[in-house]
C-alpha cells in the first residue's frame, strides 16, 4: 500500500508540474481533472471517504466543468469543433 501511495503522490506532483508547463489550456484542464481524481484516490487510501466523494464530485466534476465553460466562453475550444464540423 505504501508503494502504491508513493506512486500516486509522485503522480500528483507530475500532474501539478504538467499543469504548469502545458501550453494548451484544454490539456491543462484535463490534467487538472486527473490531478483531482488521483487526489481522491489518495484520500480513500488515507481513510477519508467523505473527502474522496466530495473531491471526485467537486474537484474532478464541477470545478472542471466550470473551467471548460470558461474556456468555451472565451472561444478556447472553438477551433476543434470547427474542424469536427468540417469533417462531418
Amino acid at each position: 500500500m505504501k508503494t502504491f501511495e508513493t506512486f500516486l503522490l509522485l503522480g500528483l506532483i507530475i500532474c501539478a508540474f504538467s499543469v504548469t508547463f502545458t501550453k494548451r489550456m484544454l490539456t491543462a484542464i484535463v490534467i487538472y481533472m486527473s490531478y483531482s481524481l488521483i487526489m481522491s484516490v489518495i484520500w480513500v487510501i488515507l481513510q477519508s471517504p467523505d473527502l474522496a466523494i466530495t473531491e471526485a464530485a467537486v474537484g474532478a466534476g464541477v470545478t472542471s466543468i466550470l473551467f471548460f465553460v470558461t474556456l468555451k466562453k472565451i472561444n478556447g475550444v472553438k477551433e476543434n469543433s470547427d474542424n469536427e464540423q468540417d469533417q462531418g
Binding site: 466534476g61 470558461t70 472553438k78 477551433e79
Partner: protein, 321 residues
C-alpha cells in the same frame, strides 16, 4: 559560428533570457486563444478607441524603468517561491511523524467526538456529526461562503431582461449566439443521459439522506445532483430545463433552504449557550430519521449546493436561467 547563433534564438537559454526580460513566458503560450475578428459594424465599445498616448511608455523594450522593475520583480518572486518551498520542506522533518497514534492531533478532542459522538449527536458518521453539531458555526460560515459566491457571480454575469445599456446588449447578443450551438441533438449524448441522469439524481439524494450514516453529506450529494442537472442541460438544451428550473426556482429554493438553516442553527446555538433543553429528538442511531437537526441541515445544504452548481453553469453560459 552563425549557425550556433541561429540555434541560440530557439535555445532554452535564449528563452530563459527572454523570460527574464519579461517578453516571453514559456509556461503560457497561446493565451490569446483566438483573437476575435473586429468587424466594422461593432463600433460601440472599443476600449482603445481614441487612444492617443504613445505605446512606447508601456513597452518594456523602450521604457527602461519599467523593464528594470519587471526584472527585479520576477527574480525576487522566483527567489521567494524557492525559499518558501525549501523552508517548508526543511520544516517537515521536525513535525510529528506520519500515522503515529501518539501524535498531538490525536488527543481528547477527537476521542470525545468518537466516544460520545453517537449519543450526543445521533450521527453514526463521526465526521458529519462533528461538522454539523460540534463545529456547526464553521459549517454555517461555509454555506455563507457559497451563498456570497453566488451573489458575486450574479453581479458579474447576470443579464437582466430590462437592461438595455450597450455593454449588456452586446453580451446578451453573444450569449444568444452561444445558445444557438445548443442543443446539438447529439443522439449518443441524449440516450446516455436518459439512462444516467436518473441514476445521478438518485445517487445524489442517497448521499444527502444518508449523510449521517455513510460517507458523504449535503455538499457532495448536492454537487452530484448539480452535475446531473448540468448533464441534462447539455444534452437537451435550455428549453427542456426551463420547464422545471428557472431563476425563480433557484431563488426560492436557496432562500428557503438558507433561512431554514439559519433559523435551525440559531435555535440550537441559543439553547446550547443558555443551557436550555433543545427539544429535538435524536432518534435511534443508524436509522434514516435520526440524529436530530443533522438530516434537515444536510437536506438544506444539498439543495442549496445543487442549485448553486447549476446556477454557476447557466450564469457562465448565458448569464440567465
Amino acid at each position: 559560428m552563425s549557425r550556433i547563433r541561429d540555434n541560440y534564438e530557439n535555445s532554452r537559454a535564449a528563452k530563459f533570457e527572454a523570460w527574464l526580460r519579461g517578453d516571453y513566458d514559456p509556461m503560457s503560450e497561446g493565451m490569446e486563444i483566438s483573437v476575435p475578428k473586429t468587424d466594422g459594424s461593432d463600433d460601440e465599445i472599443d476600449p482603445r478607441a481614441g487612444l492617443v498616448i504613445s505605446d512606447a511608455l508601456y513597452d518594456r523594450h523602450t521604457n527602461k524603468a519599467l523593464k528594470r522593475s519587471g526584472y527585479v520583480y520576477r527574480v525576487l518572486s522566483v527567489v521567494l517561491c524557492l525559499v518558501m518551498i525549501s523552508v517548508l520542506l526543511w520544516m517537515v522533518q521536525f513535525l510529528p511523524k506520519f500515522g503515529q497514534p501518539d501524535n498531538p492531533a490525536n488527543n481528547e478532542v477527537s476521542a470525545r467526538y468518537i466516544e460520545k459522538g453517537v449519543e450526543e449527536t445521533g450521527a453514526v458518521n463521526f465526521v458529519t456529526g462533528m461538522i454539523l453539531d460540534y463545529r456547526a458555526f464553521d459549517t454555517f460560515g461555509e454555506s455563507c461562503v457559497l451563498f456570497i459566491a453566488t451573489i458575486c457571480v450574479q453581479i458579474l454575469l447576470r443579464i437582466d431582461k430590462d437592461d438595455m445599456t450597450p455593454a449588456t446588449f452586446r453580451r446578451r447578443k453573444e450569449s444568444e449566439t452561444d445558445r444557438l450551438l445548443e442543443p446539438k441533438n447529439d443522439i449518443i449524448l441524449q440516450r446516455v443521459s436518459v439512462v444516467l441522469v436518473p441514476f445521478l439524481f438518485i445517487f445524489g439524494i442517497y448521499i444527502i439522506l444518508n449523510g449521517h450514516l455513510s460517507p458523504g453529506g449535503g455538499f457532495s450529494g448536492g454537487a452530484v445532483i448539480g452535475a446531473g442537472l448540468i448533464l441534462y442541460l447539455c444534452s437537451f438544451g435550455y428549453k427542456q430545463t426551463e420547464r422545471f428550473f428557472t431563476i425563480r426556482t433557484f431563488r426560492i429554493v436557496s432562500l428557503v433552504a438558507l433561512i431554514t438553516y439559519c433559523l435551525a442553527k440559531s435555535y440550537s446555538f441559543y439553547t446550547g449557550a443558555n443551557h436550555l433543553e433543545s427539544h429535538i429528538p435524536l432518534g435511534t442511531p443508524g436509522n434514516i430519521l435520526s440524529s436530530g437537526l443533522i438530516l434537515v441541515l444536510n437536506i438544506c445544504v444539498g439543495s442549496v449546493v445543487a442549485c448553486t452548481m447549476y446556477a454557476f453553469y447557466t450564469l457562465f453560459r448565458k448569464g440567465d436561467f
